[in-house]
Amino acid sequence: MATLVTENRLASPDDFYEALIDTHRDLNAEQSSMVNAKLVLLLANHIGDMEVLKEALALARKGV
């Protein structure tokens, strides 16, 4: 049964982090919210597996 991987898989974590923040450069809050929403949908489709996605959704909601 597929599960969400939470061990590090980013070859270069700082590179990714910077790219993420940079994606939002010069955007206001509303625009950033749209970018994040599109990113969620794109990545969710790439993952595809509903069990993995449900796990990720639950972890994201946890503690909020």
Partner: protein, 552 residues
């Protein structure tokens, strides 16, 4: 009111009971002469049951209400002999297009395979639909239509129900063994019995306009998100009969319905959509809101709820009338068997079980569509707009765009009336599924499988190129002589006329769609749903399945 339609007025005729002051016991009383009530009444009448239909008005559906009738509803009406008229008058369609801004996002096809008698959808004004159903009800002869008859009270007794009915001549009482409440979303029967009807209200309003015009739009369902002519809101367009187009404009929750209905507000919207030069006439305007909710149980003793009285959905996906009609289809054959003493009373509980399952499916789908069309929060709207944005370029996002998932019939997957598969079959004809059509020939005449199903139980024995073994024919004939209405057909792959009940599978569609191999047998219920299927004939197994399907 309408340039293209004049409402009939049905005469109020005082009933003999009221005139003479006698209280009469009727087998079945249907409350509400709308699409669902009339369907139930016609079906009962055709099965030999006299029906009283009470309606508080004296005309057909007023205004612009239901428009899109799905294949399954049309198949029910075809079984009752009234669909062709609807199909001829209505607009047949199967393609839907979804637009975002000024470009198309995607399109869908609701019947992508050939060889079906009944189309995917027709559009027809509800007043025409009801006129045709009323004609069929009158032809059925056992339907006693009582206009200007409002039910004031419902008092269930041990073995019947007492109704107080108000007419222009005052109040009278009548009794019924069984009551079918088809009195709509605001059902007074439901309220009188104190039944909870809970769900959610959606904070939105839609403006409906029926517009007469000669237009170049094809007979397709067109839905726009954020079109140039109605920024930030949605619009829906359908072609109906008589060059009347139905347009729904989303207004939002803050809109003032009284203001928005005014022609000086509506006409500029229409001009923006249709172009300044398009000639049109505004026939009807109204504003609606909607909710998604249902009864816990569609049966309350001797009272059954069918249609909007039992469940209410948002209109996106055409799941209102299109789930009410199958309610009637599911109930009537069961009620007849119980009335005849062939099936136990518990069979009637399966009406609620099966149709609650269907209502859940319809509520889920219509709620999801409504969440997409009317997002309930800022972030929901953001995700909705994100999906629309991505759908421009990316196929995966198009499958997220939800402008309505159009009504399909429910498969009664968990129904205890089914006999579970013990053999392996491919395809969709699983126990509980609605039977699918195929072109067949009977005694040299071309026809359709669906015309041979319904009314009673039907077994389809696939003979293929082989003869039907004598003992199989004998056992099936014996079942036909039993108490449960039953008939059978042999389905063959070549013309033979060895048996009178043979159906020729003219182009192999039956074999393909039912995954039939020689000897396989499908048992179909009176409502044209599959009760069970097997690779080989076994008379005892079939008899057991037939009993299970009537709750014995």
């Amino acid at each position: 009111m309408h340039a293209t339609y004049a409402y009939p007025k049905f005469p109020y005729i005082p009933s003999e009971e009221q005139r003479t002051g006698t209280v009469k016991r009727h087998p079945v009383v249907v409350v509400g002469a709308g699409p669902v009530g009339l369907t139930a009444a016609i079906d009962l009448a055709q099965k030999g049951v006299p029906v009283v239909v009470l309606d508080e008005d004296d005309t057909v559906s007023i205004g612009s209400r239901a428009v899109c009738y799905a294949k399954r509803a049309l198949e029910v009406w075809d079984r009752l002999g009234t669909a062709q008229r609807m199909i001829d008058k209505g607009v047949v369609w199967k393609i839907g297009k979804v637009f975002h801004g000024d470009h198309q996002v995607y399109q869908f096809d609701l019947l992508p395979e050939p060889d079906h008698k009944i189309p995917a959808f027709i559009n027809l004004q509800q007043y025409y639909l009801e006129e045709y159903l009323l004609d069929a009800a009158r032809q059925a002869e056992r339907v006693d239509l009582r206009w200007k008859s409002r039910v004031l009270s419902v008092k269930p007794q041990d073995d019947h129900v007492v109704l107080q009915v108000e007419t222009p001549d005052g109040v009278y009482a009548l009794e019924a063994d069984w009551v079918i409440a088809c009195d709509g979303a605001k059902s007074s029967i439901r309220k009188m019995l104190g039944l909870d009807f809970v769900g959610q209200v959606f904070q939105d309003r839609f403006l409906i306009a029926d517009v007469v015009m000669k237009a170049d739009f094809p007979a397709e369902r067109w839905f726009w998100f954020d079109p140039p002519f109605h920024r930030k809101q949605s619009t829906l367009l359908h072609m109906q009969a008589d060059n009347v187009w139905r347009i729904d404009f989303q207004l939002g929750w803050d809109a003032d319905p009284e203001e928005e209905k005014k022609p000086e507000r509506v006409i500029p919207r229409l001009k923006a959509m249709l172009g300044e030069d398009t000639e049109f006439e505004l026939e009807w305007v109204s504003v609606y809101t909607f909710q998604c909710r249902r009864l816990e149980n569609f049966r309350a003793g001797r009272v059954f709820f069918a249609g909007d009285s039992a469940h209410q959905v948002s209109p996106f996906g055409a799941r209102g009338a299109n789930s009410g009609v199958p309610d009637a289809d599911n109930l009537v054959w069961k009620l007849k068997l119980v009335m005849d003493g062939v099936a136990p009373d518990s069979l009637l509980d399966s009406y609620s079980d099966e149709r609650v399952a269907a209502a859940k499916e319809n509520l889920l789908n219509s709620t999801r569509s409504t969440d997409f069309i009317t997002p309930k929060s800022a972030i929901s709207r953001t995700f909705r707009d994100a999906a629309l944005d991505l759908a421009n370029e990316h196929p995966f996002a198009r499958s997220l765009v939800n402008s309505g998932r159009l009504s399909t019939p429910t498969t009664y997957t968990d129904s205890p009336l089914n006999t579970r598969d013990t053999d392996v079959f491919a395809g969709k004809m699983v126990p509980g599924a609605p039977a699918t059509d195929a072109p067949v020939e009977a005694a040299g005449q071309p026809g359709w499988l669906m015309d041979r199903l319904g009314g009673g139980f039907v077994a389809l024995y696939y003979a293929g190129s082989d003869p039907v073994p004598a003992e199989v024919a004998e056992r099936l004939d014996a079942l036909a002589r039993g108490p449960i209405p039953f008939a059978w057909h042999a389905v063959t792959d070549r013309r033979r006329e060895a048996l009178a009940n043979e159906l020729l599978d003219v182009n192999g569609r039956f074999r393909e769609r039912y995954d039939a191999t020689p000897g396989s047998l499908h048992l179909i219920r009176p409502d044209q749903h599959v009760a069970g299927r097997w690779r080989n004939f076994d008379a005892d197994r079939l008899a057991a399945a037939l009993n299970r399907a009537v709750g014995r």
